[in-house]
């Protein structure tokens, strides 16, 4: 199966639920299990929230970009912002690391993404923005379960 979609929306936190459901509706086409869809929703939530809260510091006039592609049984989701970027990606990915403890962020966003997806790739430049690529092979996850 080969399919793709692109989505973009204003960086307001109300759009997080919309983005999560849209991606889930797209992914539904590969007939995932409930756990798989919950994981997809969770990682999209985390990445989109990061783009809005960290990347754009909640400026509602900015735009978040999502690209989803299904190639055979591999799903890739790219979440991109043209926001402040990340100085040190390795540090940002550390469990419990957060630059906004005052917002009661848990610092577990990237850890959750790495747990639920097969591959997480983060490209970021301060002042330019951040691009998070999430990849999951549904064939693998299925054969592992059986």
């Amino acid at each position: 199966m080969n399919n793709s979609m692109q989505l973009q929306f204003k960086s307001i936190s109300e759009n997080e639920a919309f983005a999560r459901v849209s991606v889930a509706a797209f992914v539904s086409q590969i007939d995932p299990t409930m756990n798989e869809i919950t994981e997809i929703k969770t990682v999209v939530s985390e990445a989109v929230t990061n783009a809005i809260i960290h990347g754009y510091e909640e400026d509602p006039n900015q735009t978040v970009f999502i690209e989803c592609e299904i190639t055979d049984s591999t799903l890739s989701i790219v979440i991109e912002d043209h926001g402040i970027g990340i100085d040190n990606v390795d540090l940002a990915k550390e469990p419990l690391f957060t630059s906004k403890p005052e917002l009661e962020r848990s610092g577990m966003g990237f850890t959750i993404m790495e747990n639920f997806m097969d591959k997480v790739n983060v490209i970021s430049k301060p002042g330019i923005g951040t691009k998070v690529t999430l990849i999951k092979d549904f064939q693998t996850s299925k054969s592992l379960c059986n």
């Binding site: 459901v21 509706a25 007939d31 299990t33 409930m34 869809i37 919950t38 969770t42």
Partner: protein, 77 residues
């Protein structure tokens, strides 16, 4: 995440299509009850509140039970 977890059905290997259908049935029941209670068609938010889900999740689940197969079904049923 709490909301999402509430959305998970007991068994992790259940297909979304089936699981959403169950939630879809709950939505239909909730909609019927609220319609009687309020004397009008409920809003998506009212159903979301009753089932402790977000309006967006209601839309997603509702899709599983109510697929307009044909125009006639949608308009005239």
């Amino acid at each position: 995440i709490g909301e999402i977890q509430r959305f998970i059905r007991d068994d992790g290997t259940v297909k979304v299509s089936r699981s959403l259908k169950e939630v879809g049935n709950k939505i239909r029941r909730a909609a019927d009850e609220l319609t009687k209670e309020l004397g009008r068609v409920p809003t998506v938010q009212e159903i979301a509140n009753k089932l402790e889900l977000s309006p967006e999740e209601i839309i997603h689940a509702q899709e599983a039970t109510k697929k307009p197969q044909s125009i006639h079904e949608t308009v005239f049923e």
